[in-house]
Amino acid sequence: MNEADAATKAELSFSATYEAYFPMIFRFGFRLLGDSEQALDLSQEVFLKLYSVLISGSIILEIKSWLYRTAANLSYDWLRRNQRFSRLIRSGYKAGNPSRDIESEFIKSEDARAVKASLDKLAPRDRLLLILYAEGLPYKEIAKTMELRQSSVGKLIARAVQRLSGEFIEGE
């Protein structure tokens, strides 16, 4: 098989993966970042990265974990930036564009917004963990995605569940 064939094959496998997993990564990004626009940017960045990896001839064995992990790593930076920003807002800084935080049209219900507010109070790692957990990933995949030991996933989830439950009770 020559180089051109390999490239075509990589492109084909990429476009199939892109079609299949885009909704998953978009939803994941939305839950992490709470914003459709950012979720879309994040998804595009993730798949561009995937494209460059595939086209270079590398083989990704567990595509789902790889996608989640890449999205999570990218969003860590975004969350850090957001955290700084929200601290600014809390400290009395008035954001110039009030329509920006009205994501309400995208979030289905009042209840979901409350969940988002509670999730935002958690540390980024706990938030990521619970979102992956809610996606229904088994511990093994969560461990792979977050680069944790499989044996510590249960403990971390238990702690995060407790924290989030505390937030829920507080919020009600």
């Binding site: 978009f26 595009q44 561009l48 086209i55 289905k108 219900s109 238990a158």
Partner: protein, 167 residues
């Protein structure tokens, strides 16, 4: 078995316990009401969280947008060897050009600092005349006085003792 720890409850709810661990846990639950209650509470909390987060989805999921990946495949189709060679073709002239540039600039700065070759020659001539003047002051002044021409019209030749008359 002692009472269940949080992570055991969690793993049990999520079906992540090994068969033997699950059996052991079951035996403990049969005898421990407190743990049974904790497990039930924990289970409802976990399920609630899962359900709530799952609810929190975007109202609609957009179609995958067109990604701008056109440029990458073309270069990727060239084998790595060729890509390396191509890169070296670009790199080598660039380095050579940079070195030539530095060389030229160096020469230019040197020339400016030292003055032009012509000015240098004139300075050398001046020094020679001075030396000749000092060494043969008597001769020079004698000649000058006897012939009656300006010293400026004399230019020294290689041998400073001999003078030629400039036209």
């Amino acid at each position: 078995m002692r009472c269940l720890r949080d992570k055991q409850l969690q793993a049990s709810i999520d079906g992540e316990l090994s068969k033997s661990d699950a059996a052991e846990l079951e035996r403990h639950l049969n005898v421990c009401l407190a743990c049974r209650e904790r497990l039930a509470q924990w289970k409802s909390a976990s399920e609630r969280i899962k359900a709530k987060i799952s609810q929190m989805g975007p109202a609609r999921i957009p179609a995958p947008p067109q990604l701008h990946t056109e440029k990458t495949p073309r270069s990727a189709r060239i084998s790595p060897f060729w890509r390396r060679l191509l890169a070296s073709y670009i790199r080598v002239p660039a380095v050579a050009l940079a070195m030539a540039g530095i060389f030229v600039v160096g020469i230019a700065i040197g020339t400016i600092l030292k003055g032009s070759p012509r000015a240098q020659g004139e300075r050398w001539l001046g020094r020679q005349v001075e030396a000749a003047d000092v060494a043969h002051r008597g001769t020079v002044s004698m000649q000058v006085s006897s012939v009656g021409i300006d010293l400026k019209d004399y230019i020294p030749v290689a041998n400073p003792t001999i003078f030629a008359i400039k036209e």
